[in-house]
Amino acid sequence: MIILLAPNFVLKTGQKYKLLQNNVLFFCQRAKKTSLSFLSHIENDMLIIVQYSHNFAPQEMNLIYMLSKIYNITTLLFMCLAYQGYSQSDVSSVNINNLDSSFYNKTLNEVVVTGNYKPTGIDKSVVPTRIISLSKLSPLAAQNVADVLKYQANLRIQQDNILGTGMTMQGISGENIKILINGVPVNGRQNGNIDLGQLNINNVERIEIVEGPLSVQYGTNALAGTINIITKKKPAKDVDFNANTYYESVGHYNVNTSFGWQINRQSFLLSGGRNFFQGWSEGDTSRFQTWKPKIQYFGDVNYNIDLGKTKIGFMGNYFNEFILNRGRPLLPYFEKAFDDHYTTTRYSSSLNLTHQFDNQLRTNILISYSDYTRTKNTYYRDLVNLSEIMTNNSSDQDTTRFNMLSSRGTVTKTTDEKLNFEAGYDINVETGSGLRLKGKNHSIGDYAAFASAEWHITEGVTFRPGLRASFNTSYQAPLIPSAHILWKITDQFTLRASYGRGFRSPSLKELYFYFVDINHNIRGNENLEAEKSHNLNTFLTYKKVKAKNVYKAEASLFYNKINNLITLAILRGEQNEYGYINVGQYNTSGGQLFGEIVLNNFSVGSGASLTRSMNVFNNERYPADTWETRSNLTYTFPKAKMNFNFWFKHVSKQPGYVLGEDGKIQPIFVGTYNLVDFGTSKKFMKDKMMLSFGIKNIFNVKNIDSQLVGGAHSSSNGSSSLATGRNLFVKCEISL
């Protein structure tokens, strides 16, 4: 007997089924011809499970058990099906006796989409990808992408209490990391960084991290790496309601909710929420706070329709953040103060269309529009009568606006034969305006075409060369090649190697910045060239599954070389004129070791990485080494539906060098720190409710020693904010 479970099966009485071919029982809500093309793989006594994602709802687990028991089935065949399609290469089979809930989360073929022709099992992806599944992080009560990434290897988080949270990957920071939401680039950078604290994860399903350039596919900024945030597209059931509340003792009060439903081929998902942070300062009782009070409102709409061969999805997002920076009362009478109000608004909407012409040929078109506005207003506040007035100092008020229209389209031919192709276009038109952009209003258009091929040289070896050519309205765009190799040495060992060129186009700020007044003379440079990089990556992975135990190990090496580094430099010595110029070279290299063992209900993972950054100024080399270790430990009590989690990360002192105001090379550094979080969660009410609580930052880290600027005005060693100290958190999740 063969049972086939197709997408969105739900156990319920009266479930319709169809009998197909020889004794195949087909459970599903809607039968599709394309779903059956792999039936040649099927043997007797199999339960075939076709899934949208690697997460299983409890009722789905029950159904699998029940059906296996009834029909005496021993082998399960998993078809990994993300939202866009699948092929037989994503099939993995498992013995029924090895099945339990922890097993699913660990070994089921996780699916990635970033940089791949189609949703692909992570083991088969040519592009080395890390997946962070949000369901695993639940006990840690991560609230935004910054919380999620802070425990990842080769990633460092920097905190600025006004500009937000930035990140460094493989020793390369800010502008050189591409951030996508479902493949749509996120715009609106402050000081080069997307504020990761503005990316909430309430409706995120997983985060895919690709180290190394994906510039062929994604163009500018995807030089150090790409982070693709994949949101939930559909409700888990016909009607689905979720509500989460979160409280952290330092003063976070968050609430969000989502509601989704499906009618036949259509599905809707609405979500929204509010995050409030009351602000925090160590020991300071004045109105000034180091960590600024913050209120965020956000909402998302998702609509998907499945017309068989054609699938259409619409996504709309809204985000609003208000940060209040209350100034210190002014000397000598403490009757006045300056308050800064920062308001950020993000809108974005995107339309995604996938069409499957036949088994081999498919096309995907994505059109998106994003709008980012950040307003800074300064108020002069009278603390006696509590009135305030907007100031008219030239630098006090500013509205920066970026909007971007982008479209990507790909045509993919995937067969089981030797050669697969992808070709596509990528158009990004960005406009920006702001007080400090010369001429106030600017636009950059980037029009690119790219192509790549996937060549299965032998059974275990896949080679993928790619090329991108682009035309840019503002600068000479380079031709970008890349090459990836996947070698499945044995069942357990996989080797991946890649070479890629990356580039970063000069930002609107670097091209058109204009800040000239009596004290400043800083100008953009319209003749800047793109930063160009070479990147080499190798990954060796080992994975063995034995009964309920999983053994995983990974070793990787990377090397990046960036030329034409864009730097703010003093142009005319005593005139104090600053400008952006293409000087300098920057190299990073390093490696990582990581191992993970899952034994029954216990899992432990541990890893270490080393990064060397090399600044080159005037042909002199300035090396800076830094390393980190991380570990996580999980124990699950399946009967009690409880789990305990420890996460640990040690980050060593991170040295660096900058070109000082006087032209001398100045050493800088960020000090060493340890982060430890503990979290536990338990499910109640037939799994409809989950309570989590824990301790964040057990070592009570607040500020770390650092010196971030060199030059004449710098003081001696300072410190920079990292975290708000040790805190308790409580989280309640309800899903009906």
């Binding site: 809500q29 509340t245 499906q262 009757e335 006045k336 002069y380 008219n392 009596i518 309640c732 309800i734």
Partner: protein
């Protein structure tokens, strides 16, 4: 799935929701966080002093001449109103550039205007009139020079560069200076006379109007000049435009103290202070720009005692750099005659 089934499902969810809301009710306070209102502070008692504000405006365009005795502004001008100032007493023969615009000059060593054709090397050789280095002057003594000076006219209040002029100081006597000027991009060489005005410290010449212009009031009538000027930092060497107060070079002296409470400074205390005639005794250091929060911080404990040309004593200290609307460039001080 039909709409009927959907509505049944919605109803089911609704029932479950009602049940779990009761459970979650204890979490309700956690979702209602909001910003707390501030408590107001009590205003200070001004006491027996007067409070004055001088307008430089946020781009520091004004130069303001202030009299302590009359407790008022005697005159003010925009800093682009003049370029060169000439010592105005009978014996005087020194020339200064307008430092409030970051002007600078370099002696080209040439004697003919045609011989000076470009500005290359200017920034290496140029000199400035920094108030803390009165011995190094941009031009200085012009009695026996017949060389061409290349002069950078500095920046206007918007930060825009005003270009170069070439100047030759032809002669100086008890009554006047004679100079020749060629403006950048001009072939014409103009000759001008600048008459000495003995009741002033300086006579002034404007390149813009091509004429001598009245700037400074009678030297007996003012004590303090609020203006931008150049201060030279060392290690590393950095000439910088600062905003502050310079003393009238004519018989005005001042002292600074940060140890005695402002209220306790009386004539006895003032008499014991060591008065100095340096132009920048008051200077710019009574405030500091905080790079972290972009706000000027006032050092109100820096108290100044000023003795004017009539030997009258005053005490003053700065209490603000912003006006009531929070605009910078409005030094506010408390003042009392001793």
């Amino acid at each position: 799935m039909s709409f009927h089934n959907l509505s049944i499902s919605v109803l089911k969810v609704g029932r479950q929701l009602a049940g779990s809301l009761a459970v979650a009710a204890f979490l309700l306070p956690s979702i209602t966080g909001c910003l707390k209102e501030e408590q107001s502070v009590k205003p200070h008692e001004p006491g027996n002093v007067i409070t004055r504000t001088v307008e430089l405006s946020q781009d520091y365009r004004y130069q303001v001449f202030y009299s302590l005795e009359k407790d008022s502004v005697i005159s003010r001008n925009i800093k682009t109103d003049w370029d060169l100032s000439f010592e105005s007493n009978t014996e005087g023969s020194k020339v200064f550039v307008n430092s409030s615009r970051f002007m600078s000059a370099s002696n080209t060593g040439q004697e003919a205007f045609e011989a000076v054709t470009d500005t290359s090397g200017f920034f290496l050789n140029r000199r400035l009139d920094a108030s803390n280095h009165p011995d190094t002057m941009a031009i200085g003594e012009v009695k026996n020079t017949n060389k061409i000076y290349l002069i950078d006219r500095g920046f206007d209040e918007n930060g825009d560069n005003l270009g170069f002029i070439k100047v030759k100081f032809v002669s100086v006597d008890n009554e006047k200076y004679v100079i020749q000027i060629q403006k950048q991009g001009d072939t014409q060489i103009q000759t001008h006379q600048i008459m000495k005005n003995y009741s002033r410290n300086f006579s002034y010449f404007s390149v813009k109007t091509n004429a001598q212009v009245p700037i400074e009031p009678n030297k007996n009538d003012w004590d303090l000049m609020f203006t931008q000027y150049i201060h030279t930092f060392s290690d590393p060497y950095l000439p910088y435009l600062v905003t502050g107060v310079l003393l009238n070079p004519y018989n005005t002296q001042a002292a600074v103290d940060s140890t005695i409470d402002f209220k306790k400074i009386d004539i006895t205390v003032a008499n014991n202070m060591k008065l100095r005639a340096a132009p920048d005794v008051i200077g710019y250091g009574w405030k500091e720009f905080g790079f972290a929060n972009s706000v000027y911080k006032i050092y109100a404990h820096w108290n100044f005692v000023v003795r004017d040309s009539k030997s009258l004593y005053y005490k003053m200290h700065f209490i603000d750099f912003y006006n009531d609307k929070g605009t910078k460039g409005y030094p506010k001080f408390e003042l009392q005659k001793l």
